[in-house]
Symmetry: C2
Subunit: 309 residues, 2 copies
């Protein structure tokens, strides 16, 4: 039976409409086309990208590489759209996906995220650094070579601001962190996907997207940059695990993820929201801001758990 | 130079990022595939749809036909997702688009919208009737035969509630309608696309989508059902005009539109928002709720005006 659900944190509504739902295989899209050779993100073509800002070096050249976006949406030079817009190439190989890397190599991507957040947060006038990833055509990527992006802004993004407001309200009332409470609740629920020593992964109660998954540190920590060394390894392991599971179940689906970190001097609970893009946002979603999700999160979590993560 | 813009009505932010932008031809997608024969919305296959609720009859059978959605997202039978979910087939031809119909035939679609809104609004527990249209794969349609949908809910949708709040706030402060003022402002701006006796069409200041267009009656009227006969004809003419223009410029692009009407007993200004889906919502948009639009509305309006509508 269908059900209208309100997000646990913000005023966001979702219709869980299982009667329109399908088996995981019905969500499988055609494989991403992968072309090598002239890729501007491949080693040897560094001259085709804007100047390198930072890279992590291995014995055979860079393994992770950051530079400004060729067509930045925000820039320190745009008074009306002040910020930064950078690309983080996640690997020197063209044909692999993030989850195919060893945990240590994913950890390097996380280290790059942390470095860039640290550096950019110090720039005068920057209020927020949003790191996100687009994988696959339906998720908005234009270059298949695996990469993340970073957009820094002079304001806290709308969605983060909403989460912060809810966070503060809940804290004022209960003296507790709403995310800590959600982690405890979801790990005991049928929406749990997996947990390891430091991270929890679950399908959120009011999942907007089929097979949506959230990753949160169990410890109350506001920013990815504040994770301990061990926690960062645990995050790399968790990312590999959930992306591998989604890829197995949905055959390399298009997806987005984004990091919600605390703005400077704010208290918050860092988390990553992973959104597979195997269904479309259509007229109802645009016109109502209510999303129809045809895959109940309880069922999605069960399918992912069944892969014996 | 890029520019961060706030919507005129609600707290919605958009980055107008012309430097990432392209010519209209760069937005053209591959043509929609159109298959005839086994289409469940074609005349002769009426037995394949749920029971007809209402149809408009012409000399050769029905011309517009309404029935419940085969997989309803909301239903009078769902206590947790109470509402209605209906389909309105806009024509008996399989291979035409809405704008290819004569103005009189589009007027029949509008009459059907009005009938269904009138009927469903009377049902106990229904707070809102949202009519929307998905055209093309990227806009979320699964059946190419042109149709609209209607989802009625026990609550006013989030986006409409936001517009209503802004409407009331502005009215309290100025004793005027924010939409009436926007119509006057936009018809005098470079974002004007066209106007006729009763309707205004323009690209909104903080357009979320490339070539987004809004249609508003010039007269202050809350619901499509309250338009005069002449105004309804003018709306049909306006819809034909803007959809023809978008189709010419972007070669039958995927698009959504939705009707924002006044909830019962509320004051509001009816309008239709048309959203071409020629770009993707990606990780930044999902994670921030700020949209990057690479086509400045002023340029989009100029391109549409240049078609001499």
């Amino acid at each position: 039976m269908n059900e209208l659900r309100k997000d646990c944190i913000i005023d966001r509504w979702v219709i869980i409409a299982e009667n329109r739902g399908k088996r995981p295989k019905d969500f499988i899209q055609k494989e991403c086309e992968v072309k090598e050779g002239t890729c501007v993100f491949c080693p040897g073509n560094e001259h085709l990208t804007p100047k390198e800002i930072l890279s992590i070096k291995g014995p055979h050249g860079w393994t992770v590489r950051g530079f400004e976006n060729m067509y930045p949406a925000t820039s320190l030079e745009f008074p009306q759209a002040f910020g930064r817009h950078e690309v983080i190439v996640e690997m020197n190989q063209h044909n692999k996906n993030l989850q195919d890397l060893a945990v240590g190599a994913i950890r390097e991507v996380i280290d790059m995220y942390c470095s860039r957040i640290d550096d950019i947060s110090k720039i005068d006038g920057i209020a927020y650094v949003l790191i996100f990833k687009n994988h696959g055509d339906a998720a908005g990527t234009s270059i298949v070579h695996e990469h993340s992006q970073l957009i820094a802004l002079a304001q806290v993004p709308t969605l983060v601001e909403k989460e912060l407001c809810a966070y503060r309200k809940y804290h004022d009332k209960t003296k507790k962190c709403i995310f800590c409470d959600i982690v405890a609740m979801e790990l005991a629920s049928e929406r749990k996907i997996f947990e390891n020593e430091h991270f929890a992964c679950f399908a959120p109660f009011a999942s907007r997207f089929s097979f949506e998954a959230w990753l949160l540190p169990k410890r109350h920590v506001g920013n990815i940059t504040d994770l301990t060394d061990e926690e960062k390894n645990s995050l790399a392991e968790s990312l590999k695990k959930i992306l591998t599971a989604l890829s197995k179940l949905l055959h390399n689906p298009p997806y987005n993820y984004y990091l919600h970190i605390a703005p400077p001097q704010e208290d918050f609970h860092f988390h990553i929201e992973i959104c597979p893009r195997v269904t479309k946002l259509a007229g109802f979603e645009l016109g109502s801001e209510i999303i129809i999700n045809t895959m109940p999160p309880e069922k999605a979590a069960a399918e992912l758990r069944a892969l014996s993560l």
